[in-house]
Amino acid sequence: MRFIATTVISLRALRRNKMRSFLTALGIIIGVGAVITMVSIGNGAKAQVEAQVASLGNNVISVFPGSATTSGARGGMGSSNTLTVDDALAIQREILGAVAVSPELRHGDQVLGNGLNWRTQIHGVAPDFLSIRAWSIRAGDIFSEADVRSNAKVCVIGDTIARQLYPDIDPLGQTLRIRNIPFRIVGVLSSKGYNYFGADQDDVVLVPYSSFMTRVFRWRRTVNNILIEASSAEAMPRIQEDITALLAQRRSGREPDFTVRNQLELAAAASETSRTMTQLLAGIAFVSLVVGGIGIMNIMLVSVTERTREIGIRLAIGAHDRDVRLQFLIEAMILSAMGGIIGVILGVTVSEMLSHFNGWPVLVSTESVVVAVAFSAAVGVGFGFYPAHKAAKLDPIDALRFE
C-alpha cells in the first residue's frame, strides 16, 4: 500500500549517505565478485582438463598387455608380449559396437628428410586411428586400408615433424627416410599440442601397422596396445566386457595377460580433481559473501542507532511500525541488490582480465551469476531484517530524546 512512498523514503535516505551506502554495498560487491571469479577460474580449469581428456578421443577403450609370469616371477603391467594384430582384427570382426579399431605399435628412431634429421616416435596404426583419437588432418589424407594390405611405404607426419624437417617447403609428396627406408608423405596432421602429462603429441610419424612390422621393424610381432572406439558411452561397459571375454577365449584358459581400460575412468578422475578445486574456491568465496552480509547488518545496525532521532521524528508524525521496518528492509535490499549487480560486473570483468592477461582458462557460468545474485538479495533481506525490526520497535518518545 505505502510501498511506493516507502521506496521513495529509502532512496532518499540512501542518497543522503552516498559514502556509507557505497561502503555497505562494498562487502557484497567483493563477495559476489569473488564468487563469480573463483567459480569461473574453477570452471575454466575443469573445462581445460575435460578438453585435454577429450583430445584423447571419445568413448575410447584401450587394451594393454598385462602381466607375464616367467618362472614364477610376475613381470608386472605390460610385461607380457602377447597382444597381436590378430587380436585387433578379431575385435573388429566380432565385437558389436566397436565402430573403429586400431592396433598401435610404437618405436623411437631417427628420421631423415629434406637434408635434415630428427628423432621421433614412429607409430604403426590403422587408418581408424585418427577418428578414434579425434585427430584431424591439416593437409593431404590418411593412408587407406589398401595401403595397409599392400604394406605401402606411405606416412602421415605430425605438426612438429613438418616444422622441424620441412620449415620452408610443403612436406606433402616429399620423401621421409625411416631407418633408411623411403616413405612418401601423404598427409600432415593438425596440431594437438601437449597432452595432460606435458608430452608433445605432434612429435609423431604415423605409418600403416603392416608396413611398420614388415618393412621397418621386422622383429616386431606384438603391439603396444589396441584402441577401440565404442558406438556410445552407454555401450562402453558392455563392449568392455565383450572384449575381455573374446580375448580370454582366444587365450583359451591361460592366465589373462591383458588389461581393458576405458577413458571415462581417466576423465572421471581428472574432472573429480578439478571439481574439488572449484568447490574449494567457491566455498572460500561464499565465506566472503557471508562476511559481506554481516557487514551490511553491522552498518544497518549502526545506522539504526545513528538515525534513532530520525526514526523518532518519522514515528511522531505518523509512520507505522511496518513503514519503518519496510524502509530499512528496502534500504538493505537496494544495497545488496546494487552490490550484487556491481559485483557481477566486477566478477565478469576480473574473470575476463585474468583470461586475457594471464592466459588462464576462465569460464563464467550462468549458474554462478544467478546463485551469487540470489544469495546477495537473500543476505539483504536476512541480515537487514533484524536492524529493521529493531528500528520499528522504537518508542517515539525515547527516540526523540535520543542524543
Binding site: 523518532g312 511522531a316 505518523g318 517515539p396 526523540l400
Partner: protein, 263 residues
C-alpha cells in the same frame, strides 16, 4: 462549540521496579478551537507527560482523552500514529528536521505517511504552500545546516501544518533560540492563531507565555492555575522594543567605548 480536546481525570504512573512515580495525577482540561495555550511548570512537574499524552505519543494509565470526539486513550500504536498524522502537528525544541534533507522534503514527510496516498505533485504544492505561510518558500531547497535556528524552526512549523491538523503542539519551541528569533517564531504562532489554528505549547519562559491567550501552570502532576493572559505581548511591538534596546546598547557602547572594558 464542541471542544477539540477533552481530558477527564488523566493519570500517568511510571513504574520503576517497586517504585511508582505519579507524573500526572488527575488532570481535567478542555481546549476549544482557536485557543492559544501555554503550559508552564518546573522540570518534573508533569508538563512533558501531559504534552506527550495530548500528542498521542503516550497512553495515560487512567482517565479518558477525547480528541475531536474520538476516544484516543484506548487506541493501539498504529491507530495513534494515524491520529498524529492527521489531527496533530508537532514542533519540537530541537527542531528535529531530518538531516541532509531539503526543507521541501522535510515538509513533505507527513504526507508520505498519510493513510491516503498523496500524488507527488500535490505533495509538492502543499509543501510549498506551507513553506510560504512561514515565509520560507524561497529557501525550499536549502538543507537544515544551511538554515539558521529560527528558519529551521519555521520549516518545522511548516511541516506541522502541512496535513492541516486540528491542533498544533509545540514543546519548548523557543528553547534553543535567542530572544529576537524567539519573538519572531512567536510572531509566526500568533499569526497562525489569528487564522484560526489552535495551538498548545510548553514553555518555562514567562515572557514567551505572555504571547499566548491562556496560561496553565502545572505542579506535581496537577494544574494549579488556569488563567487567561491579560496584557498579551504582540510580536511586532516586542520586536520593535528589542530593536530599540539593541540600538541603545550600541549607542552606549559608541559614547562610552570603555564602559565594558573590564569584560
Amino acid at each position: 462549540m464542541q471542544p477539540i480536546v477533552q481530558l477527564k481525570d488523566i493519570r500517568k504512573t511510571y513504574r520503576n521496579g517497586d517504585l511508582e512515580v505519579h507524573a500526572v495525577r488527575g488532570i481535567s482540561l478542555e481546549i476549544n478551537p482557536g485557543e492559544f495555550i501555554a503550559i508552564m511548570g518546573a522540570s518534573g512537574s508533569g508538563k512533558s507527560t501531559l504534552m506527550n499524552t495530548l500528542g498521542c505519543l503516550d497512553r495515560p494509565t487512567g482517565g479518558t482523552y477525547l480528541l475531536d470526539g474520538i476516544d484516543v486513550s484506548t487506541l493501539d500504536r498504529n491507530r495513534r500514529a494515524d491520529i498524529r498524522n492527521q489531527k496533530l502537528g508537532f514542533v519540537f525544541q530541537g527542531f528535529n528536521l531530518v538531516a541532509r534533507t531539503s526543507a521541501l522534503e522535510n515538509v513533505e514527510l507527513p504526507m508520505l505517511y498519510a493513510p491516503r496516498r498523496v500524488s507527488s505533485s500535490e505533495m509538492r504544492d502543499r509543501a510549498m504552500r506551507a513553506l510560504d505561510i512561514v515565509g520560507l518558500a524561497a529557501r525550499h531547497d536549502h538543507l537544515p545546516n544551511q538554515l539558521s535556528g529560527g528558519q529551521q524552526q519555521r520549516v518545522a512549523i511548516a511541516r506541522a501544518l502541512v496535513n492541516e491538523p486540528r491542533i498544533l503542539l509545540a514543546d519548548e519551541p523557543t528553547g534553543n533560540l535567542d530572544t529576537k528569533t524567539s519573538i519572531e517564531v512567536m510572531g509566526v504562532f500568533q499569526k497562525l492563531n489569528e487564522q484560526g489554528i489552535t495551538i498548545v505549547m510548553v514553555t518555562h519562559e514567562l515572557d514567551i507565555a505572555r504571547f499566548c491567550k491562556r496560561n496553565l501552570i502545572v505542579r506535581d502532576g496537577l494544574v494549579v492555575r488556569d488563567e487567561s493572559v491579560k496584557d498579551r505581548s504582540h510580536a511586532p511591538d516586542e520586536l520593535l522594543k528589542h530593536a530599540e534596546a539593541e540600538a541603545a546598547a550600541k549607542l552606549t557602547h559608541v559614547l562610552f567605548p570603555h564602559a565594558n572594558a573590564e569584560d
